[in-house]
Amino acid sequence: MATQASRIAGRLMLSPAVLLLFLWMIVPLGMTIYFSFLRFNLLMPGTEQFTGFENYTYFFTDPAFWPALVNTLTLVLGVLAITVVGGVALAVLLDQPMWGQGIVRILVIAPFFVMPSVSALVWKNMLMNPVNGLFAALARGLGLEPIDFFADAPLASIIAIVAWQWLPFATLILFTAMQSLDREQMEAAEMDGAGPVWRFVHLTIPHLMRAATVVVLIQTIFLLSVFAEILVTTNGGPGTASTTLTFLVYMQSMLQFDVGLGSAGGIVAVILANIVAIFLMRMIGKNLEA
């Protein structure tokens, strides 16, 4: 259908977006790779020199590196586990006939629209604060000792906050997928005497697998970059108890001004994210052909 003229017009219309995105990707990434091989500290301008893989050696032997890697994986896996399991449960629940379903859905997805700094501060101060927080008041009401969440379980507390923010996303995606569940198949299975558990395991779960995979992959991309929640609650502490790779790189480059080291860490984060991205791209690419 395309005429020669429209093909040329099409290419002209496409090129600004492609060109800008290409520059946006290649220039900073090239600079990061370049910096990662330099001894380069913003506090000592003019002393840059090539050091080979020294920054990478430093980064991998930094005492904070392994905790940061473990914390990153714990955060990502913890949030994924909570949101996927909770999301499936909520999607199934919301799919049942009920009164006021529209309002229930609005309430459930609300946390997704709260900006990360707000949700982190609200949870940190008003809910989890060991003296003035609501949880402390509840604990005292029950005659229990209030928990100092961010001192005793900093990473778990951050996981709780981030999971609260992402549960709506998982629920919404899985709920949308539920809508395309084959109802006749469900009814047929029920007629044949299949119980709700059997139907859930053999019909609902397989149907939701694809959407669940998408949830896992997309959330992973975003969760690897969780930042504000850590910055306003624990600042990575106590010690390195809640430092993630993203936060470690932030500290090295923005607080210690060690551009070389931070860049090496940035490249490590890029490689980590790419491993996830390959799987995601394959899934979405398959869908594009369909």
Binding site: R7, A9, G10, R11, M13, P16, V18, L20, L21, W24, M25, V27, P28, L29, M31, T32, L93, Q96, P97, M98, W99, V104, L107, V108, I109, A110, F112, F113, V114, M115, L121, V122, N125, M126, N132, L134, L167, T176, R183, V214, I221, A228, L231, T246, V249, Y250, S253, V259, G265, G266, I267, A269, A273, A277, M281, M283, I284, G285, N287, L288
Partner: protein, 276 residues
């Protein structure tokens, strides 16, 4: 489904669903309620749910700090600015990929998506240094540019999935009737594309409004949007719950209302069309 549709079952589901929903919504509700309390009431060790002396003084105080409005305005400029700029770049690109697909269209789409997979922290240092050297650090212009580029792949993808749904036959019919390329775009395509563009705009304003990596790292004071302004409340800890709540309520209310209208688009936009 006869058995499941019984009144008792429905009542039980309703009860359970409302309970869970209110639990999930509770932190937001609590913030909203606390914003109407006095500071003393807000940290009362026997917190009151509804029966306290409602006051608007927190909103007055937060608004009197004229910088609140400045930060609010920064958020508006940055989120709307980056979205509009992104649309200007993305609409032609998505249009051409949807209606004049070439051999490499799929590859280009996938490549655009892959740029979104780049973790922000991997390019933090260069972007920071480039912004500094260009004098764009802590400016709205700098953030508009950065957020435009950050969200451009999502904008292109969303528009592409919407444009894809416009039947190509309509364009052919218009062409048969002698419509030129420009009138084709203006009179045939645009009216059909407007809902998709509006949805994209809505979702992208939400994403840009809440973006909290670049806005926190590239601003200090003058261009700081609400994300950064609220984050600054983390230092005088424990003293200003009611004012924190009022500021938070004002920061999230506009976007939450927009968000409720964009549930469907959210799914499509954030899954790059993989779930519809």
């Amino acid at each position: 489904m006869a058995r499941e549709a019984t009144k008792g079952h429905k009542a039980a589901v309703t009860f359970l669903a409302w309970g869970v929903a209110l639990l999930i919504f509770f932190p937001i509700l609590w913030t909203f309620l606390t914003s109407f309390k006095t500071e003393g009431e807000a940290i009362n060790s026997h917190p009151s749910f509804l029966f306290f002396d409602w006051t608007l003084e927190n909103y007055e105080t937060v608004n009197q700090r004229s910088d609140y409005l400045a930060h609010f305005w920064n958020s508006v400029v940055i989120s709307v600015g980056s979205t509009v700029l992104g649309l200007i770049i993305a609409v032609p690109a998505a249009w051409s990929m949807a209606f004049v697909p070439g051999k490499r269209t799929k590859d280009i789409l996938m490549w655009m998506l892959s740029t979104k997979m780049l973790p922000a922290v991997g390019v933090l240092v260069p972007i920071y240094l480039l912004a500094r050297d260009a004098g764009l650090l802590d400016t709205k212009t700098g953030l508009v540019i950065v957020l435009t580029m950050v969200n451009l792949p999502i904008i292109v993808w969303m528009l592409y999935t919407y444009f894809k749904e416009i039947p190509a036959e309509i364009l052919e019919a218009a062409r048969m009737d002698g419509a030129t390329l420009s009138s084709e775009i203006l009179y045939v395509l645009t009216p059909m594309a407007v809902p998709g563009i509006a949805s994209t705009l809505l979702l992208n304003v939400i994403l840009a409004w809440n973006e909290s990596f670049w806005t926190l790292n590239l601003t200090a004071a003058s261009a700081a949007p609400l994300t950064a302004f609220i984050a600054s409340y983390s230092s005088p800890e424990g003293l200003f719950y009611a004012k924190l709540s009022a500021a938070s309520t004002m920061a999230i209310a506009p976007i939450m209302i927009l968000g409720w209208f964009s549930q469907k688009q959210l799914v499509r936009g954030l899954t790059f069309g993989a779930v519809k």
